[in-house]
């Protein structure tokens, strides 16, 4: 199903979605993941505006009048008795993160390749835990991200909220 090999459990570190940041004047959102246990850590992922908004809806537990795309995916899983077990950010190639969604139904396990935005959007709705592999954590560029994020967030204060339809 997926081009990535299933990582071993001990190689996985659990993260949760802390917040979604908007980059002023761009069509980009930043999904800020923070480490669940152990030493504090911040892991940002850049996503498109549509993808960021889909995650924000779930993060704010907003109920939309009609099911959004990831609500539909969850609905499929519920109808077919498929459990969304976990999502894993499992690889990074030329600055693109690759995620896998781990499913189980009546003892049959499957892994499906996905963009991190789809995986995270679904994880928040399932709900299920989000993991990052040690390998991906080692290979990310680490240029004082916390300071950079703090700067970005202070710039964002008072920025108009983008309304999407």
């Amino acid at each position: 199903m997926s081009p990535v090999d299933p990582p071993k459990e001990q190689d996985l570190v659990e993260y949760r979605v802390d917040r979604i940041l908007e980059e002023a004047n761009t069509d980009t959102r930043i999904v800020v993941l923070v480490r669940q246990n152990g030493p504090p850590d911040t892991f940002p992922i850049w996503v498109g505006a549509t993808e960021g908004n889909a995650i924000k809806l779930a993060l704010d537990t907003m109920i939309t009048p009609r099911p959004m795309s990831h609500d539909l995916i969850k609905s499929f899983a519920e109808h077919l008795d498929i459990t969304i077990q976990r999502v894993v950010i499992a690889d990074v190639k030329s600055s693109t993160y690759y995620a896998s969604v781990h499913l189980s139904s009546k003892g049959v396990e499957r892994t499906v390749d996905a963009r991190p935005s789809d995986a995270i959007s679904l994880a928040l709705r399932a709900p299920c835990p989000i993991f990052i592999t040690q390998d991906v954590l080692k290979r990310r560029s680490s240029t004082n991200l916390d300071a950079w994020l703090a700067k970005l967030e202070s710039k964002n204060i008072g920025a108009p909220e983008v309304q999407e339809t």
Binding site: M1, R66, P67, L72, L80, S105, A114
Partner: protein, 141 residues
């Protein structure tokens, strides 16, 4: 097709004889998900509806058909019919998701007769008369 009056996109469905048409207003990202499939564009990474299909494929669930059931006011309704382990399932969806998934699954798209009748209203005719030729064209994605 872009609708400059409502700042939205329109998915135009036609019946097999090309006689009736059914326009459905959708947002930009929904239009792009449908347009990519219509134009056979393969993105480098799976888009949301590609992922949706992979999840169904992983368990051999098949999309049999989708039906647009209601387009009243601002609330659009569709049903997705699935076949999984010899049982049929019906799942509630927005028409945009249903169509994007149907195109990727080579499944037929149906519309209830009541929906088609509703749409052949005066309002729609007027709107179409106001369209300029440059409003037609491929969606840039």
């Amino acid at each position: 097709m872009f609708d400059p009056y409502n700042n939205a996109y329109i998915v135009v469905l036609r019946d097999e004889e090309q006689s009736d048409m059914l326009p459905i207003w959708v947002g930009k990202s929904e239009a792009s998900a449908i347009s990519m499939s219509l134009e056979n564009v393969t993105p480098p990474r799976p888009m949301t509806h590609d992922f949706m299909k992979s999840l169904l494929d992983a368990y051999n669930a098949k999309v049999i058909s989708v039906v647009i059931t209601d387009l009243s006011e601002h609330t659009y309704f569709a049903k997705i019919h699935l076949m999984y382990e010899d049982s049929e399932y019906t799942v509630d969806a927005r028409p945009s998701d249903a169509i994007a998934l149907a195109l990727r699954s080579n499944a037929p798209v149906f519309a209830n007769n009541s929906v088609i009748t509703k749409q052949t209203s005066e309002e729609l005719d007027q709107w179409l008369e106001n369209l300029k030729p440059e409003d037609f064209g491929k969606l840039d994605s």
